[in-house]
């Protein structure tokens, strides 16, 4: 059994090494993908939302408001426009996402003690930008209101520090544990690593048996006394080796380039990655075992990989997926991988804290491999 697995593994390794172009691709693609995906998601937090000011008031108070806006990194004040029509046109053309309008009589109303308004024109097609600009406006105005009130109280003889406490008696004290900068990248990196590893392994394995079927070499193998598990495990081993090499390079990129902490917990991370890679390899083998041609195998692989992107909680918490379809998410090993890797890299979890996810991944490996062996028929159609 072991000897035959060894023969198959050696043969596969030779073929992989001999196909130089594919081999280089296998080694370089994961690094490139991790880098690209990581770079794309690094700026997942929106900043510098293009905006304009329409200052119809021109008072000192309105200038103070404009200055307050430009101190916020989330918006970028591109300039001032003269009319509302101009602001609307820019919004319609998609050149800006927000227009901040300070209406005429703004200061007069404040001084007179009437209700003054700051108006926002927001582009609702971009549902990410709009609430951010709105939040900035709320903070600017809240601060403005508070300071004005403090000044008013001071004029009536209340000292500023006491005045502040009167206006805002309660403060929120926040302490963020584990991901102090609330970096989206730190959250999403395990997903990027998992998707990259999965993409390559599923594709490579999916064509491994069908390629032999298409070239006719499977006929000679099927006529031999090789067993199904010998063939499946023999094909799996070399790709497991390559994938582990990929794991190391991907973790290196994540650590050095994107500053996602992996050091110190490397053994546990490697174990998680190895188990996850095995689930992907087994999935690919299963696809290969049931497909008749390489084309069909690739089709099935794509149909598998696409839902994983959307449903496995790689980009957002799985709780964000509606309950009606959430059960599907639990069918993807990537979900458990992301959960465990996040726990390890962000919360510093140890083996004791992630053993459940490890066990689930191991279960996936066994079931998928067994399924692949059973699906592979040692007879021709």
């Amino acid at each position: 059994m072991l000897a035959v697995i060894g023969h198959v593994a050696r043969k596969e390794t030779r073929q992989i090494l001999r196909d130089r172009r594919t081999f280089v691709l296998i080694l370089v693609m994961p690094i490139l993908l991790t880098f690209l995906f990581g770079k794309a998601l690094e700026t997942g937090e929106l900043r510098q939302i293009p905006s304009v000011i329409l200052n119809q008031d021109g008072s000192p108070e309105s200038h103070a408001i404009v200055t307050a806006f430009s101190n916020h990194d989330e918006v970028r004040i591109q300039g001032e426009v003269g009319t509302l029509r101009e602001a609307q046109a820019l919004l319609a053309q998609g050149k800006i996402k927000a227009a901040i309008v300070i209406p005429q009589g703004f200061m007069k109303q404040i001084v007179a003690g009437e209700e003054a308004q700051l108006q926002l024109l927001l582009d609702g097609t971009d549902n990410n930008s709009a609430p951010i600009v709105e939040g900035v406006a709320q903070r600017v105005i809240q601060r403005y209101n508070a300071e004005r009130a403090v000044r008013g109280l001071w004029a009536r003889g209340v000292r500023p520090d006491r005045g502040r406490r009167l206006i805002q008696p309660v403060y929120v004290q926040t302490e963020i544990r584990y991901n102090p900068g609330l970096r989206y990248l730190s959250y999403v990196m395990p997903g990027v690593i998992g998707l990259t590893l999965q993409l390559l392994t599923v594709m490579l394995m999916a064509v491994s048996i069908t390629r032999e079927r298409e070239r006719g070499t499977l006929d000679q193998l099927l006529a031999s006394p090789i067993t199904r598990s010998e063939l499946i495990l023999g094909k799996l081993l070399p790709y497991l080796g390559i994938s582990l090499l990929n794991v190391v390079t991907i973790l290196f990129v994540a650590d050095r380039w994107f500053n996602v902490p992996v050091r110190g917990r490397l053994p546990l991370l490697l174990l998680l990655c190895a188990l996850f890679v095995l689930t992907s390899l087994a999935t690919g083998l299963l696809i290969s075992a049931v497909s008749r041609s390489q084309f069909q195998a690739i089709q099935i692989a794509v149909f598998y990989i696409l839902p994983v992107f959307m449903l496995s909680g790689a980009y957002a918490p799985v709780e964000a997926i509606p309950e009606t379809i959430r059960p599907i998410s639990y069918l993807f090993p990537l979900l458990y991988f992301c959960r465990a890797v996040r726990a390890v890299t962000l919360r510093g979890a140890d083996l004791f804290l992630v053993w459940k996810d490890l066990a689930i991944l191991a279960g996936f490996v066994l079931v998928l491999l067994y399924w692949a062996v059973l699906s592979f028929k040692k007879r021709v159609a």
């Binding site: 001999r18 070239r215 070499t217 006929d219 031999s224 007879r379």
Partner: protein, 313 residues
């Protein structure tokens, strides 16, 4: 002596198509059995069932005493199979291919290395052992495929068109190797389209539409031909052929170069009748003689009148 291969009512259907229809075949241990028949006659399907690659729909077969349906894996250990289509790895070297299959057939280390070298030597590929298989010529690829079928010293060899498309010297070399294997006591079942190769077999079986329509030694097959054969040397040959086809009792006419081969139901006076008709129409008849049939004549006669057959009607 035990029979190497024995099938009873062996049948295989693919959907509505019956590829093999109740085949009864017996191959004696140590003989070379030639499997003939037009494309699509069911030869490859039969071989695949005998190798344990395909389950029979009905009936059964025993190879080396083992049931191909229930003991397929045991059968695989005892037989060597050379598929019709080249099925080795083009991106491996000659030796790597052979070594891989020797390993898959579970030959232990030292035995494996010895057998690989011996087999390479035997098929004359020892000097090419380091070459990529993709770089071999068609004839050498066929010899490597034979080596892979031989490397585990099987008792029975199944060879599906082992010389297809090969040049005459390559075919000669292949047959030398087959005789050598037969001399060692191996049983060989070989399919071919070449009639002169069939003449080299001890027993031949004509397969047509999934069943045997004739079987026996080449001599028996020729003797059993239920038609008389006349060789006619006449000019112009095409007109002579057209006239011959119209005669009563004539079942087939083939044109060969300057002559005709006329197949007819046994009659006493056809020869004279034919001569009269041809001469009456102004055709020069140089000779008409009764000749013994060749295997090719038998082949033509047996497959006549079928779309797949190379019959002459």
């Amino acid at each position: 002596m035990a029979q190497a291969i024995e099938t009873t009512n062996l049948t295989r259907r693919f959907g509505n198509v019956t590829a093999v229809a109740g085949l009864n075949l017996t191959v004696r241990t140590g003989e070379i059995f030639g499997f003939l028949g037009p494309n699509g006659a069911g030869k490859t399907t039969t071989i695949r069932m005998l190798c344990g690659l395909l389950l029979p729909t009905e009936g059964g077969a025993r190879v080396a005493g083992l049931d191909v349906a229930t003991e397929a894996e045991a059968v695989k250990r005892l037989v060597g199979y050379m598929p019709q289509r080249f099925s080795l790895y083009g991106d491996l070297t000659v030796e790597e291919n052979l070594d891989f299959f020797a390993g898959v057939y579970r030959l232990p280390g030292p035995v494996r290395r010895r057998r690989v070298t011996e087999t390479l030597q035997r098929v004359g590929l020892l000097e090419r052992r380091g070459d990529l298989t993709d770089h071999l010529s068609g004839g050498l690829k066929q010899r490597l495929a034979l080596a892979c079928a031989l490397v585990h010293s099987p008792a029975i060899l199944f060879l599906d068109e082992p010389t297809a498309g090969a040049d005459p010297p390559s075919r000669q070399r292949m047959w030398d190797l087959l005789y050598e294997a037969a001399a060692e006591g191996k049983t060989i079942l070989v399919t071919t389209h070449y009639v002169e190769e069939a003449e080299r077999c001890q027993t031949i079986g004509f397969m047509h539409r999934g069943r045997f329509i004739a079987a026996g030694s080449p001599e028996q097959c020729k003797a059993n031909l239920a038609e008389d054969l006349l060789e006619v040397d006449a000019a112009p040959v095409m007109e002579a052929a057209a006239l011959a086809r119209g005669l009563e009792g004539v079942v087939g006419v083939s044109v060969y170069g300057q002559g005709l081969r006329v197949f007819a139901k046994p009659t006493a006076h056809l020869r004279h009748h034919l001569q009269e008709v041809l001469v009456a129409r102004g055709i020069t008849v140089k000779a008409i003689r009764a000749v013994p049939p060749t295997l090719e004549d038998v082949f033509m006669s047996l497959t006549r009148g079928t779309p797949e057959g190379r019959g002459d009607r």
